[in-house]
Symmetry: C3
């Protein structure tokens, strides 16, 4: 019997690690997506930010974030007990002893799965503030975001805090990850202002096309693949029939929703613009993925497709709408992860009878309010202390030369 | 005992889902390969087609294709019983009850694995008709192909239809997937005609070089990786010693054949052209992969390498030959998946004593004939109703502006 | 009981295959990294080398390398018993018989995992000799390296030879793979000389910037992901609580060390150069990964981060130092895999009480001496027989036209 228990523990640990590796891969997806959607002169810098934020997120979450989000014992349901540094605890004896409270997978595999989530949340920010945010201000924000802001609200839901107690339901993080990241981005964008030349004084909007659409497409496919880990791993267990069926359902629904998002966004774009802007199709896929993330288990695949389709329509209008109110988000991150993240949260009660519209709205508002206020304070401090925006001349010349001293494509002649 | 059964079910389900995720990743591989091998002015559009066809394939196969290919009960072995919409059936009781007919993995994990296969078949088509096929005609074809044409012949073999009864052997789909996709592409290409300027009136052939070879190489590596899921998952089970050994053998042989394909294609290209056209090396890898797909289990790794080498030689001559008969296939898809797919089918009896040359040829002819006739009818209807080819001016200006209203690389100055 | 044994065998085999697939994916990582860091005119050729070396490595290791490295019986601990061709042995009876010596995973899954390692070692070489090494000389070297030089020293450690007996400790190959690859590269680079124009006669150093930094970043992310397989799979077993915990620890430490490498390299670059050269951040990630590879199991995650940080600082100084002594390595491979590989080996005793500084140094010297001398002899023979460097004119025109007859980006106008 013990051997069966051990095998089960091993399978669940392996499942967790592989799902975590898929989520880690999303860091590459965000990097490619953002590098494809900015101008050539800002490409090196956005790549650097994506590599660096991942490193910062992994390190800060190890030092303090994980222990905030999943404390041994919380002070209360609003405030976690904070300790420093990830322990290496993987106690074998407890497993063998068995019982309902026995760990059924390695603690460190859980940490690995969680640490790549915080990096995802932070990746959302980099895209929205692209092409004008100072490198080191961004990285200091990343330190606070991944070490404190994200883990606090993560504790409230997944760490067993008051949002969990209030019945708020968020399977894999439409709210805890995507809305949180988008909200932090929104605070930054508001303070930062639009890129020079994006909005004319006469109210005109000047599109600034992405410089490398194959990269953006690659990034989207990477994210699509990584999302199987993001949602599929959030079932947290696979080692019996019921759980295995659940994970399979999550994979199928995640895929179906993304597909629905693409189709709906393409048709919406065709109807609105006459042609199909590929960035709308890509954002449609991501919208489908974000939308289903709050509840990928209870819908049927057909319903999951519809949830994704609504996300795909929403994202097109949201992107158009952001420009109307002059919120300049070069990659559409706030629309994809914020607006559609909200839709995902509110759609949970449609198929999950254990969730209620009221508690979903409550969770949404709490996550938004906390992240917006906390982020705004940090952005403001950074603005006062070191500034958050590059100079007008640096913006004109490009972030790459200003921050990295090198071009992304030094041999290709660019049309300016 | 029950717990062991449950663990086994969980492991097989997990294996299926991971293998399926690898195959899903092939969609990115096709997208990058094709985006790298077309001209810059047609790059956005081919990327969009690849994203869109994946979405269409997933949705159509869910609505109708899967139920055609694997019906609860067929009308007869030529005609499946058709029902609509994937059910969410994952019956736990049957598993626990056990017995030889008990499901040993989640039905939905099977669907996930199957749905990414149909997308693969459709991805083959997009490359061959690139640079001149209308976006929306292509997507309507995708609807019929993934919802009906592919599932029908899939039913005949993998759904237990008459090709299966006839002893036709096709482990992971050299015929059912690759030849099927290539045949649909061939019908489209014949009707569509060559790209303007490809073939001179004097019989001369003008190469149109791919615009971004790193992308094409990346796409090939992605496909190579994804193929471990394609072939490795087609063993369908891994949870005992015999099956685990079989899956390992499939991984090793798949890799060996691809390696053989590269080496043979490089040497062939060097001998024929004096220099090594990298696209031949890439197509050599893919040829090795297609060739071994019909039977990756019974060869030794040495024989698998040889099967791949024959594929690698074949594909070079096939690509040269297609141009001779003025079949214009910008990425070589018909050669790789069609010609080499046939070689794969016919090579099965060399190592698998359970297969016969006659039944392999029978299956090959049936798949080709069905797919060619059915596809041709659909292409013809589309041609009459909405046209399948863009105008000469649109072709000259590029598909990207015509269909998407945007360029793939707007800042780079292109030499025309 | 038997069924549990079978399940355990299946899980370990599946784990091995998946980890191997991750390592295979590193081939794409090296290809993208190198293609991004060379000039446009040499891009196609470096891509071709990466595809071809992988194919050569897989084939040579199957024919002879694997049997050298893991012989049925060695002649003695310095000299393996050599036989030809991988067998297809996957004996089921031995497994069922059980006992401590019974195989607990498929032999072929072990081969698959090993074969992708040798390709990694060879990939290191291609980057260092880029932009001037003849294609076919390189491939002939690959034949000897992957069939003989690498497997010999691999036998000494992992095959149970004299380095293993001497207490040399190298978990996943900081020495056996990375130092070995870097040393073979060093021998080649010394013989080959620097690229024209890299070093002025007055002692000046002229940077030759990489042409496509998004590709280089993508390559780094791919390698980061693949490394979870590289280190995680080197635990060799996952199917009980202790082993599962160990694999989880390896994943976490591998990730932590890479993150530490990025942060340290960025700060070092900022302090040295005033701006953050992104290639230093990327090489910092790789340095963190190489550094932890010799011992990813015994450090705590905090210590792993520090080990990576030291690697990140080291790699920046190593790259600067190499240029000082006019060792021209276009991608920094010798610094990353060689210098930091040594650091990794020497850092093992810091956390692993079973390792001693003396035996680590011994192993380091043996691997370096063997690989350097053996490689130098092969490079010298190749130089005499067919030459290893392209002509000055070919170098000026670019390797792509000389070796492949085609450009990587034929439509983009390059600034020369």
């Amino acid at each position: 019997m013990d051997q069966v228990l051990e095998l089960s523990y091993a399978l669940d640990t392996f499942y967790f690690l592989i799902m975590g590796a898929f989520v880690m891969w999303m860091a590459a997806g965000f990097a490619m997506l953002e590098a494809g959607l900015v101008q050539t002169k800002n490409t090196t810098e956005i790549l650097l930010k994506n590599v660096a934020l991942f490193a910062v997120a992994c390190t800060m979450y190890m030092i303090v974030g994980y222990n905030i989000m999943y404390p041994g014992e919380g002070v209360n349901s609003w405030w976690p007990g904070i300790s420093l540094f990830l322990g290496g605890d993987n106690a074998t004896a407890d497993v063998i002893a068995g019982g309902d409270d026995a760990p059924y997978y390695s603690n460190l595999s859980d940490f690995f799965f969680q640490v790549v989530f915080v990096a995802t949340a932070m990746s959302i920010v980099s895209g929205a503030v692209a092409e004008r945010m100072k490198l080191w201000s961004f990285l200091f924000f990343a330190v606070v975001m991944t070490g404190f802001i994200y883990p606090m609200q993560g504790y409230w839901k997944w760490g067993g805090g008051f949002l969990d107690a209030a019945g708020f339901s968020d399977f894999a993080g439409s709210g805890v990850v995507h809305l949180c990241g988008a909200t932090a981005a929104l605070a930054g964008v508001i303070l930062l202002g639009a890129r020079k030349g994006k909005y004319g004084k006469d109210g005109s909007i000047h599109p600034i096309p992405g410089a490398n659409l194959p990269l953006a497409t690659l990034g989207t496919f990477i994210l699509w693949l990584g999302w199987f880990g993001f949602n599929g791993g959030s079932e947290l267990k696979i080692s019996n029939v019921e759980e295995a069926n659940a994970v399979a359902m999550v994979f199928v629904n995640t895929n179906a929703s993304a597909a629905g998002g693409v189709i709906a966004a393409m048709i919406t774009a065709k109807l609105l613009f006459g042609k199909v802007d590929i960035t709308m199709a890509l954002n449609g896929a991501l919208a489908g993925l974000v939308a289903i993330t709050a509840e990928p288990l209870t819908p049927t695949p057909g319903i999951a497709t519809l949830i994704g389709m609504v996300g795909g329509v929403l994202v097109v209008f949201a992107i158009v709408g952001m420009d109307k109110v002059k919120i300049d988000d070069p990659v559409g991150a706030i629309s994809v992860h914020g607006v559609v993240g909200m839709w995902g949260l509110l759609a949970v009660p449609l198929t999950n009878s254990g969730a209620a519209f009221g508690s979903q709205l409550y969770g949404l508002v709490v996550i938004f309010a906390w992240t917006f206020v906390a982020s705004m304070i940090v952005w403001l401090i950074l603005k006062m202390v070191m500034g958050i925006r590059v100079t007008e001349e640096e913006e004109y010349e490009g972030m790459d030369l200003a921050e990295c001293g090198m071009e992304a494509y030094p041999e290709f002649i660019s049309a300016k």
